[in-house]
Symmetry: C2
Subunit: 275 residues, 2 copies
């Protein structure tokens, strides 16, 4: 089966021409899960030839705009394109109001069922169960309530069975509390807004540095660390990647259009999507 | 003085890789006025080397997402970039709530003053007066309350004085009531979502066709008609342009990155922005 993650946005708050803000698309055997949905996400999907129609679940980590300002546009486009399938949106409770107030202002009643699932950041929760798949939310620590997401898929009718795990941690400070949750995942995405020379700024803004991400990855003994959510001040993520690599060599830097694939046996590889 | 309009989005509801949805940037002697602000507008400005910082007035015609889903992202980016100047936003009253609910969810208090001016679609209103500039709103007819905008600038200390006028009509059906308002403007933007073979669909969706736009332009005796807000079904606007041209030859088709300049003596020229 396929278990692959496509990066639709690797930048932090302000979009640049090379890096959109946060959005990840996870393909679990042709079921598609969108994690965060910054402004421009629908256009990124178009650019990378990814179809909206296959997404049935959208997870929004927190309510800073660089993680969800593309959501209502995407939901609206799905409506205009004639979607009929249920759409499940997971987010903090205010998000439901934010969606509804905009649909009401447009006098728009979606032609497909939109099911909203409120998140809580008190502890870990199982928020979705599908065929051979479980999705959990867990608390992160940022300037506003924020959840990370853990995807656990398996292919049990194998000899031996295959297992696939992806954890998304953005936005957050250095947070050792997540280590038991993300222990030994195949792929860990941990936000890396700054290099360690800006550790004080990172701390003030409740963000993590490349060393923070690498330290968490090392302690959690993950297979591969993916860093992203880079500050627009970095034209190039190489210094952040190199810094993380000094602590955790199995680190890759996210870039828009990159796809990272897990093979179910602990192997993780990455390639750029052609467009 | 400069009086030029840059097209940041020429498509209707669904963005494509070539055409973003609606946003126009009007430069009146280095004062910048943004008219509508679809998702992705801030990135379009970056692409075309237009600075956010010079915009002090944003006009939102109506509350369909393809005309404002980029607004809160733009306001947020201005905050993150350290803006201190007042920002004036003109829109229907629900827009103020839509902005505020999203700022509140982010626990964000803008570091610059945001002044909201509610629009009314009952009749024509003078909504902004600047040095040698007046901006009016006027009612259009669409599926939800919608205003057009008329910009009138002059350079009085000339022999003879120069006058510059731009009218923005989007979204709307064919509406003869606007003719007295836009009479003899230099540049008329009139939405042209469809060609005339889809007149029935246009009517159902409260949009106009290329023949509608051309007929309005002819009756109003404008200098130049600019058509845009094209349905994503048209890869190329040429058929719409040709159709409008049969009634009103002085028609140009909007494309993202195009700049249209008025010379103050009734002359209007267009060119593509380099990027």
């Amino acid at each position: 089966m396929t278990f692959s993650l496509t990066i639709l946005g690797s930048n932090s708050a302000i979009p640049t021409l090379d890096r959109n803000p946060s959005a990840h698309l996870l393909n679990v055997n042709e079921r598609f899960f969108l994690i965060d949905c910054a402004e421009g996400t629908q256009l990124q999907m178009r650019k990378y030839h990814l179809k909206f129609t296959k997404i049935n679940h959208i997870f929004i980590s927190h309510l800073h705009g660089d993680h969800y300002f593309g959501l209502v546009g995407l939901l609206t486009s799905m409506h205009l394109l004639g979607r009929t399938d249920e759409m499940h949106v997971y987010g903090f409770p205010e998000l439901e109001q934010i969606i509804n107030i905009q649909l009401e202002a447009a006098r728009m009643s979606l032609i497909y069922p939109l099911i909203f699932h409120p998140l809580k950041d008190d502890e870990m929760h199982l928020i979705h169960t599908g065929r051979n798949l479980e999705v959990f939310s867990f608390p992160l620590k940022h300037s506003i309530p924020t959840c990370g997401f853990l995807f656990k898929a398996s292919q049990p009718n194998r000899q031996p069975p295959k297992h696939y795990t992806y954890a998304y941690c953005s936005d957050t400070i250095y947070l050792e509390e997540v280590i038991p949750v993300i222990k030994e995942v195949d792929l860990l995405y941990y936000e890396t807004t700054f290099a360690s020379d800006r550790a004080e700024m990172a701390s003030q803004k409740f963000h993590a540095t490349s060393l923070d991400a690498a330290n968490i990855a090392k302690q959690a003994n993950v297979k591969k660390l993916l860093i992203g959510h880079f500050s627009a001040r970095y034209d190039d993520a190489t210094p952040l990647l190199e810094e993380a690599g000094t602590i955790f060599p199995e680190t890759i830097a996210a870039s828009d259009g990159m796809t990272v694939t897990c093979d179910g046996r602990g192997g993780v590889s990455s390639e750029m999507v052609k467009w």
